[in-house]
Assembly symmetry: C2
Homo-oligomer: 218 residues x 2
């Protein structure tokens, strides 16, 4: 969901290119989603990748998938779920890569803008049925890198969540993308820390003349 | 201050070994501090490092230094400053590597335990005179690595602070230690994010069978 932004579309390409997962790109505007999906299919063809496919659909249609990735601005989350109806998320694995943040343009830094629940992932958990299995994933990958398909991504990706089986499935998904290194971050309670690293890496890029800063835990 | 713990003593050794800075180790117990300083001097001798020296003294004596590093548990901070008297910190550069955290032993994870001011560094700023220049530094270096002097440290170290000159001086100090890479993290407002990375790296070590996890921003 929210798969027509740079991150969502880059992520869709990278996941399809793994040859292991078919992807449905979801958007409020199904036409826009189909257009993005056509881009992914062209990219697969260019890379002679024939094992997987990508289609475009409405956000509601994405709920047919086994794993639902939420790549939306935080302030669109509640209304999107309300439109679809939360029952569509029953028993689903739902991955949040949402990092709410605020910018101080004058001083050139970003801070996390945690919702009252402590993180976007914890807020998402409250919006969904208790049977939904929420994990974080892909949060701190530099946004500009997703579409640079000729570059391997070897960052660390911290996956946290309260359902151990779901967390393992999401870690396998992460490991399928380029050379990303999934790490088990423990329960969803950790998600606020993970989300706050994104405003930090953007601030580090701004203050140190760097581009596309990512994070490695070693 | 607080230089008789593993982190403080390892840091003192590493800074002296740079050959660029003399160090005073401070403790409530000056005898203990002198003992730690003797250890540093032996280490310097073993490494044929003659350009710098280390002495042990009370925490109050440390305030004669140009740069004061606070390596104390957060709950000792206010009482230590009260004992010394806050005027001793006038115009000083004060580096906080304090990361308040709480442990959930059953589920094997750590969370930041930010004070009401948002971070230990911001709480420290409130305790000191307005002329004191507070920076973070060395926060996320794996504690177990400080004393492993045969191992180079090449982690990223985010330095933040509101005084640009002080921040640059602290970044130079960081750069003098092993192969640490200082990064300008912007203003002290960022410090809460930096402090929260320490409970995360400990959690990552626990959950992924790793030892001494550090962080690299690239």
């Amino acid at each position: 969901m929210g798969g027509t932004g740079n991150i969502g579309e880059g992520l869709a390409r990278r996941i399809c290119l793994s040859g292991k997962y078919d992807v449905i790109i979801g958007s409020r505007d199904a036409g826009k989603a189909r257009c993005a999906a056509d881009g992914v299919m062209s990219c697969l063809a260019e890379n002679s990748c024939t094992g997987t496919s990508c289609t475009g659909a409405t956000n509601a249609d994405v709920c047919d998938c086994d794993i639902i990735i939420m790549s939306l601005p935080f302030d669109k989350l509640a209304s999107t779920i309300e439109t679809i109806g939360k029952s569509a998320f029953e028993n689903k694995i739902v991955v949040s890569l949402i990092n709410p943040m605020i910018r101080n343009p004058k001083e050139r830094y970003f801070l996390p803008d945690h919702p009252v629940d402590g993180s976007a992932a914890l807020a998402l958990q409250k919006l969904l049925p208790v049977s939904a299995k929420i994990c974080t994933g892909f949060n701190n990958v530099a946004a500009g890198k997703w579409m640079e398909l000729n570059e391997e991504l070897d960052y660390s990706v911290v996956v946290c969540g309260d359902d151990l089986t779901a967390k393992r499935i999401v870690m396998d998904l992460v490991a399928s993308v380029s050379k990303l290194q999934p790490l088990d971050g423990g329960p969803l309670a950790i998600s606020g820390i993970i989300e706050s690293i994104t405003p930090l890496v953007i601030t580090l890029a701004l203050n140190n003349g760097l581009k596309d800063v990512g994070v490695y835990f070693r």
